[in-house]
């Protein structure tokens, strides 16, 4: 089957801009989350997961990591780490839930909330530069071949950060497979791959296995 519109592969590269906000207590972290830019929330969640994709246990986002290693607040860290970025299509929603979890913890634990952490949390922003690649797929076979050869930046752009761009609860790959090739089951299975317990390479491997099955290989 041939799509009406091809899948156009692109990648995104980032530089990190150092922000103005910083936090040495949980209360300051809460304040920073309330006031920092969307680009900062993105940097410390979506983008951070991509930078650390090879850690298949113990890492979810920068806020949870700081609560764990610098503030020694295991329960809070667990809650912050439990936020799944796949559930969010806007930074406002994600910020709201991060804020709620921190606010509730600080309300219930006022003494801990004001205690100085071992290291400062520095809010930073991701500055994105999108780069179109001269690579497109019209069929599932071409799509498979392209998935084999693209880099981590491309996988991250289309599979992880695409939700924020599309404002849809799916990723670019699944969106195209479903819309253009009518492969809804394959699209769903690809969307269900756990980005927290897989590396970008193992996500690629799982995708290729699923596509292989679809192609009867």
């Amino acid at each position: 089957m041939r799509a009406r519109e091809p899948f156009q592969f692109a990648t995104a590269v980032y530089v990190v801009r150092i922000g103005r906000e910083e936090a040495t207590t949980l209360l300051e972290l809460l304040k920073g989350i309330e006031t920092c830019t969307d680009a900062s929330i993105f940097n410390h969640t979506f983008q951070s997961l991509g930078r650390h994709h090879f850690l298949t246990e113990g890492f979810s986002n920068d806020f949870a990591q700081w609560a764990l290693t610098s503030s020694n607040r295991h329960a809070l860290a667990e809650q912050l780490a439990s936020l799944d970025i796949r559930d969010y299509v806007s930074m406002a929603e994600l910020r709201s839930d991060l804020r709620r979890l921190l606010f509730e913890y600080c309300e219930e634990n006022p003494r801990e909330a004001a205690q100085a952490a071992f290291e400062t949390f520095y809010f930073c922003e991701s500055v994105e530069q999108r780069v179109p690649l001269r690579l497109e797929a019209w069929t599932l076979e071409e799509f498979r071949d392209a998935i084999r050869e693209v880099g981590h930046g491309t996988l991250q752009f289309h599979y992880i950060t695409s939700r924020v761009r599309l404002h849809l609860r799916t990723n670019d790959f699944s969106h195209w497979l479903s819309k253009e090739l009518g492969l809804r089951n394959l699209a769903r299975k690809i969307d269900e791959i756990d980005i927290y317990t897989n590396t970008l390479d193992s996500i690629r491997t799982t995708m290729l296995q699923l596509i292989g099955k679809e192609l009867g290989q």
């Binding site: 990648t11 590269v13 530089v15 090879f54 290693t69 930073c124 530069q129 179109p132 491309t154 590396t199």
Partner: protein, 410 residues
């Protein structure tokens, strides 16, 4: 070509050579990123062409950016012993130490800056000035056509006020500043970016070595390959706390029959190395298991072999820029125990890619823990290697520069 312009080595690795390490896709993405920048001119300026992390990085980055069809050159400022004594004092003071030089030293610094300004040309689309030594060259900016970037590789979080108040007016005139960690940045009236430094996986210091080569180096330095080897590689500099490493080793030695290797050298802009080495020699006494190796700048192969032979890599710095020797250790799949200072926590994510320590005793404890738990050490080392591949290789550094250039042109 000016007399201060650096010629990078004749045989350098090409972009395609890196495909085996980072994959062909990453290289293709670099080429796509660079395409809109074809023909743009870039000038890198620093204070030494030999020794130290900045020079090592530039030696590799410059040819790669050139291969991507940008017109790049690398200039090194010149100065006598007097100038480099002042810049070394600046360096220590900006790391938080005292500044005991007379007021005239600032004028001397500016006089050498003026000599360099007169000798060099500044006509590029992007001028990247590395570190404080050439920072005042911003005086050479004559129009707004090119973008001026100050790349600060050192920790400016607690600078000596006298030195910083002298330098800051110059820094404020740049378009953007780049730091190796957000913790190093200052409140400045210009955008500040985070660039991690990088290592070259294909360089003599980091490439794969045959086991025989590693064995030969150990034999040459009389190091026993059959007992644990704890290694710190860094310049002989008090900020690297070599005496603290020695004390940590002695605490570990009570429980493990290990050896300590302190391998270093000195850069052409560091006049203090000899005195620090003498202090360590005196403290080490006649312990045959302490190996103090004062290596010349051309010892990349030896450093590589020593790191690969090590059981654990230590970096117990009191202050640190980024800590490229940590990066090198992680890349070689070695468990790392390091101080939580400067850029080290960015590399050593505690209990994920290595172990952090905050004291001599803590350093000794973490070393003992890893020696007792080799499986955990191996897992940390594996993830540490991936962390470097993803974030701290030279190709990532090239990507960041290209991305920043594109962003500045928006």
């Amino acid at each position: 070509m000016s007399e201060t312009q650096v010629q990078t080595e004749a045989r350098v690795s090409t972009l395609d050579d890196y495909a085996g390490v980072v994959g062909t896709a990453e290289i293709a993405e670099l080429r796509a990123l660079a395409a809109p920048l074809k023909g743009r001119s870039v000038q890198m300026v620093n204070s030494t062409s030999v020794g130290g992390g900045v020079a090592e990085m530039l030696i590799r980055v410059v040819p790669l950016i050139q291969e991507l069809d940008l017109n790049i050159r690398w200039d090194v400022i010149t100065g006598g012993d007097e100038f480099f004594a002042i810049t070394k004092a600046f360096h220590n003071a900006l790391h938080g130490g005292s500044y005991d030089m007379p007021d005239e030293s600032f004028q001397t610094f500016l006089a050498y800056t003026e000599q360099n300004r007169a000798r060099m040309q500044f006509d590029c689309d992007f001028t990247i000035i590395h570190d404080p030594q050439p920072a005042a060259l911003i005086e050479a900016r004559t129009n707004r056509s090119g973008h001026w970037v100050w790349r600060c590789h050192i920790d400016l979080s607690q600078p000596n006020r006298r030195v910083w108040e002298f330098l800051q007016p110059y820094v404020n005139r740049y378009d953007v500043a780049i730091f190796s960690s957000p913790a190093f940045a200052r409140r400045l009236p210009l955008p500040q970016y985070l660039f991690y430094p990088s290592i070259d996986p294909l360089s003599e210091k980091n490439r794969e070595l045959e086991p025989e080569c590693v064995s030969r180096v150990l034999e040459r330095f009389h190091i026993d390959p059959d007992r644990p080897i704890l290694t710190q590689v860094s310049r002989f500099d008090r900020l690297k706390d070599p005496l603290g490493v020695l004390r940590a080793y002695r605490l570990v030695k009570r429980y493990f029959d290990c050896q300590l290797v302190l391998a270093g050298g000195s850069a052409s802009d560091d006049p203090e190395g000899g005195a620090v080495l003498a202090e360590i020699q005196e403290a080490a006494g006649r312990d045959p298991d302490v190996h103090l190796l004062n290596l010349p700048p051309w010892s990349a192969l030896e450093i590589n072999a020593l790191q690969r032979a090590s059981t654990i890599i230590i970096q117990k710095s009191l202050r640190e820029g980024f800590g490229l020797t940590v990066t090198e250790g992680l890349w070689k799949k070695k468990p790392v125990v390091a101080s939580a200072v400067g850029g080290i926590p960015t590399q050593v994510i505690h209990k994920c890619t290595g172990l952090l320590a905050y004291s001599v005793e803590g350093t000794a404890y973490q070393i003992r823990y890893l020696l007792s738990n080799p499986n955990i050490a191996a897992r940390l080392a594996e993830w540490g290697h991936e962390h470097v591949r993803e974030n701290f290789l030279i190709t990532s550094n090239v990507r960041r520069y290209l991305t920043l250039f594109l962003h500045l042109l928006r």
